[in-house]
Symmetry: C2
Subunit: 520 residues, 2 copies
């Protein structure tokens, strides 16, 4: 039981090889969980991706040495995992599993693609991938025309951008048809973050983001762009103003922005993730409006990452894309990104799209497009995939949502039985669980230690630190997997927690509300 880290997600697990003193200690001064008072600094943090890396290569530039360390950290975790690979016959207690195709794996770390890796280093598929695989494998998807083999417009082939515009118009419920000239297609959302960071910010400038957040964004904006993230820290406290744990409010954004300004950091934009990874939050129309108004007030760009927009599995939930709004507060500074990696479970295809009305930005990103190009035949396949709305609606999404609902229901029932509080979500592939009572002290060292004990029991979770969560003790548990594999994973979690002494603590303001959220 296990899961292997996807490349992109590997850095979400702390590397056992990283020195604790730097990775899990020193960098946390400002956002220490010890502080429980309401002082503004509590809500604010400034990322410094280079701080935890110090190994200099004689062959690389100083930035090159830092860039390399991002991979080293990921590789270390990867190697540690591979020391005890799961094999149904030879090593049934291992962390990995048998490389049978269709034999998916518990994704307690991975974002729902249900992938595993066989001994030859190949990934196995999740149900999403399997379904889409069948679709892509049809003969009419395999079409090649010579123009696909030649240089395209770096914005993407026009016929694909037509398809993307139609697709987004339909699924984002745009009030008027979206335009292909506002679409730029590249090889993944990582590339969009990189390109947007570079064309919107100068080196050392920053984007504002609420934490916890999908941690890979740190490197996507930093590796090439040298752009940092300013954190508006959310926490589990519930106050009169914050009716829900980890609630994003404009006040918190304001505090973080002012904090950054007071340190001389130039913040150029706000990143919103909706539906949210790892919290699973879906922003209401009112919330969205408030965040966008805040951004306009401060002349910030807004990058809205809607990569989970088709993974809203709860039928009572109302997801609202910013593209559905009748009037954006600042349309020239509002930029939406989406890709097929999560909603269609095909991260290996490397396909994502930017939608922006701002032609300066579309063209600047397209200028970087020669470095983020997508194979022409892949562009054709994606156009075919996005075009087939009957299949998407009636076959793919209905099945996928139904499975996500069932898996979510199973995992959350188990968590309730275990007495583990969690944020109930209606979208995404994960639940955000509260294991603070199992920490001896409220430190990230303790969190890492608990993460390690899970790994020793062949369960690989993502700990909160990987998402820059300011409170130690939160974990992300991915449930987008087959029930029998989830069962094994939950059984192992139960074993770990059964051995852990629960530490008596001041009841968190989160807890009662957490219950009420659960019982909704």
């Amino acid at each position: 039981m296990f899961s292997i880290l996807k490349q992109e997600d590997r850095q979400l697990a702390p590397s056992p090889a990283l020195p604790l003193g730097t990775d899990h200690g020193e960098g946390l001064g400002r956002e220490s969980s010890e502080k429980r008072d309401e002082e503004p600094a509590d809500f604010y943090g400034l990322g410094d991706p280079a701080a935890k890396f110090s190994q200099i290569s004689p062959y690389l530039s100083s930035r090159g040495s830092i860039i390399k360390c991002f991979r080293d950290a990921a590789e270390e975790g990867y190697k540690a995992y591979h020391l005890d690979e799961y094999d149904e016959d030879k090593n049934p207690n291992g962390i990995s599993q048998k490389p049978l195709r269709g034999n998916v794996t518990i994704l307690f770390l991975d974002c729902g693609n249900g992938l595993s890796r066989d001994s030859r280093g190949r990934n196995e598929k999740a149900w999403e991938t399997k379904r889409v695989f069948g679709q892509l494998n049809q003969r009419d998807m395999q079409h090649i025309e010579p123009p696909m083999l030649q240089y395209p417009d770096w914005k993407g082939h026009r016929w694909l951008r037509d398809e993307v515009a139609g697709f987004l118009t339909y699924y984002c419920k745009a009030p008027v048809p979206l335009k292909p000239e506002n679409v730029v297609v590249v090889n993944g959302c990582a590339s969009l973050f990189s390109a947007l960071a570079t064309v919107l910010c100068n080196p050392g400038e920053a984007f504002l983001i609420s934490s916890p957040y999908y941690g890979a964004i740190t490197q996507h904006v930093y590796l090439y762009g040298n752009v940092r993230l300013v954190y508006a820290h959310l926490d589990s406290r519930v106050t009169e103003m914050d009716g829900r744990p980890f609630q994003l409010t404009v006040r918190k954004l304001e505090i973080a922005l002012q904090g950054a300004k007071s340190e001389g950091i130039n913040v150029r934009g706000l990143i919103l993730i909706n539906p949210h990874n790892p919290l699973g939050d879906i922003y209401s129309q009112e919330q969205l409006q408030e965040y966008l108004d805040f951004a306009k007030r401060h002349e910030l760009h807004v990058i809205v990452d809607e990569i989970y927009m088709l993974s809203v599995f709860d039928e009572s939930a109302m997801f609202q894309s910013v593209l559905s709004m009748d009037r954006l507060p600042d349309p020239q500074k509002t930029h939406v990104i989406w890709g097929t990696s999560k909603d269609f479970g095909i991260s290996g295809v490397r396909f994502a799209t930017l939608y922006t009305e701002n032609q300066d930005i579309a063209n600047a990103v397209a200028s970087l497009g020669c470095l983020h190009g997508v194979c022409g035949t892949t562009q054709y396949q994606m156009a075919q995939l996005l075009r087939d709305r009957d299949w998407i609606n009636q076959v793919y999404l209905s099945e996928n949502h139904s499975r996500l609902r069932a898996a979510h229901a199973y995992v959350t029932e188990e968590l309730e039985t275990l007495g583990v509080p969690f944020l109930r979500t209606k979208a995404g592939f994960f639940v955000w669980i509260d294991l603070r009572k199992y920490l001896h002290t409220d430190t990230f060292e303790e969190e890492f230690s608990l993460w390690r004990r899970f790994l020793d029991h062949k369960v690989l979770l993502s700990c909160g630190k990987a998402f820059e969560c300011k409170e130690p003790g939160w974990f992300r548990l991915v449930f987008s997997d087959k029930i029998h594999r989830l069962r094994l994973g939950m059984q192992r979690i139960r074993e770990v927690l059964g051995k852990e002494p629960q530490v008596a603590k001041t009841p968190s303001p989160c807890q009662p509300l957490e219950k009420s959220i659960q019982s909704r």
Copy 2:
């Protein structure tokens, strides 16, 4: 007759919209062709990609504004061209052509892919593309397995890197088998230049390169990496030491390196292009050894771009990959790049590979690999393509070389008839032609003006300035096209030159030698 600019190549044509004063005048002070004395400064230039762009967008960072301008410049040329698109029926005198598949186009600008673009903005294929298209379109190439749809190792799938290592071992004649762990696969050579620039240099540092060179490298190392190029200027002068026009010598490299140092520019590496674009040169083993020894002496990395390695069409030529050398002077600082865009004419597939023994560099580039990922199914197709050595040798390369030979022979005979001197080449898709006698004055304004007159006659050539050639009056003529289309292109060139008065000039030292080269 014409050719549309490939995206990547668009900047190789001066944009009619760029102000002459900045694009073709001011920037050239140091390397003015007026200077004919032997002073060292004559051999040295420092690129400043931002100098010619001044348009600032209120929405973009200052670097973003420059990045956008690279696309604007390309787009301007593109639009100007589209005002008079060729159509066999409706506009037979236009610059473009009918979009029939298989109906290729004179590639006087494009690097040999024979592409054109129909009215819907789609490219048409060259003979190389057509052949490879047939190969890729076979059923067994269309195979999809679910692992291909999931995140790969960002170095590329292991089975592909195995194939690449075997392919390079065979075609580069490596003395010992090359290793898959030294291979990193990304979406195009542009991405490799970008990644290597970033991990080897800090912002503002530089690579040394001899000019003229494939001009797109300027933006590949600059857009993200903010790395500049230091030019070792080659020219047509023939001296005792330089037996051939545009000969690259270590002395010139030394002068340029010292020039850069004297200006406080930190040069981190040397870029070699072999076979050379646009000169068509193939370096001998002795030359290669000298350049590599020079780099080792100065502790420089060497990036060897061998993207035309399978396009050596003259059977008497001996191409030698650096990977064939028994002992590299500095193996840890020698990095080879190759891709399928030119040799297989499939630039739209976005596939290139780095080979380096240096694991720091391989891992640093792989760390950026999440931004340059290749679709898993494309990786599979490339593995299949590279594996089929019977087809490559007996079908593809023999046919391709034979066509290149015929086209080269036709074009060079025509040039001789026209009395246009040129460098005779044995590799690549182009000849480097000397039109200096048609310039009224030796300036780049005049060169641009002549380029414009060709365009007015529906011939789109690449002028020397696009390759940072220091001598005005040289052009690159691409010949990898069908004979009947080459015939039309040459006829139009004849018409233009027939109207041009030839300016009496001091005979260039190049000319007699040029003749002797031609008559070899």
